[in-house]
């Protein structure tokens, strides 16, 4: 047995289109290093120099690892790791209104 790592659409370019790959290791960190050895570049999309990337969610089975041990979360054979990019965005700090071009719903 191994650990199934489920890959979101946007990262399947690293896995040849596969929705899930197999990994091994005692912690999430180990599994990501292991998977990256066969799918180079994938780990960099999930982890940066500070740890788990802010807008990438990683789950072991049903739990967000941020509520467990983060990258040091223990994993065992038969576990499923799921990677899901955050669904996020927003107007941000851009200033409101002001522009004279008022765009209304098209059609």
């Amino acid at each position: 047995m191994a650990i199934e790592v489920r890959i979101p659409t946007i990262l399947r370019t690293y896995t040849g289109g596969e929705k899930a790959v197999s990994g091994d290791g005692g912690t999430l960190a180990d599994v990501l290093v292991d998977v990256d050895s066969r799918h180079p570049g994938l780990r960099d999309r999930i982890v940066d120099e500070k740890g788990l990337r802010r807008f990438v969610n990683v789950y072991v089975n049903d739990e967000d690892v941020r509520f467990m041990g983060g990258l040091q979360t223990a994993v065992k054979d038969g576990d499923t790791v799921t990677v899901l990019p955050a669904v996020a965005g927003g107007a941000g700090e851009e200033r409101a209104g002001g522009a004279s071009t008022h765009v209304t719903a098209g059609g």
Binding site: I10, L84, G89, G90, E94, A96, T104, G106
Partner: protein, 160 residues
């Protein structure tokens, strides 16, 4: 210019997909109502549909965990539940929508930076005016924003 009846998704290659979102008026109303309800916080959600068909069928409003007038984010547990459910139902997120509450309905730098569903239509609604609403749709692929036509229909065509 009129479009041939086979224009929509007859050739399923991203480069030849016509830039159009076909959406039922009821779904437009649901998205706008959600945006109005959450104003002045940004509203967000998804309209799911069967994988590969480009049919936004199932309206799924989400909680904005950021509860902010300038930022939205799905709660990570809600996100997992949503994607598991879509997977169980052979669905994908056809539309990812959110509202801007003081600015125009155009993707911001933040929106582009975090767009993680290359196959989705990104719908933006602006509730900055009380009496009108802006409802626009975009593709966001590899950091590039392309606006597309929004074609509102009485109901989605029952035939594929």
């Amino acid at each position: 210019m009129s479009l041939a009846p086979f224009s929509r998704r007859s050739c399923d290659r991203a480069s030849s997909l016509l830039p159009v979102l076909v959406i039922a008026s009821e779904t437009v109303d649901e998205i706008v109502a959600h945006a109005r309800r959450d104003h002045p916080d940004e509203a967000c959600g998804v309209v799911a549909g069967p994988v590969g068909l480009d049919r936004p069928q199932r309206f799924i409003p989400m909680v904005n965990a950021a509860r902010s007038p300038t930022f939205y984010e799905f709660d990570s547990r809600d996100l997992l539940r949503l994607y598991r459910e879509m997977d169980d139902r052979d669905e994908e997120p056809v539309i990812v929508y959110h509202s801007h509450t003081a600015t125009q309905a155009y993707p911001s730098r933040t929106d582009v930076a975090y767009a993680s569903e290359p196959g989705a239509h990104y719908v933006l609604v602006s509730t900055r005016e009380p009496d009108t609403v802006e409802f626009r749709s975009y593709r966001i692929v590899d950091g590039t924003v392309t606006e597309e036509e929004v074609r509102v229909v009485a109901a989605l065509d029952p035939s594929e």
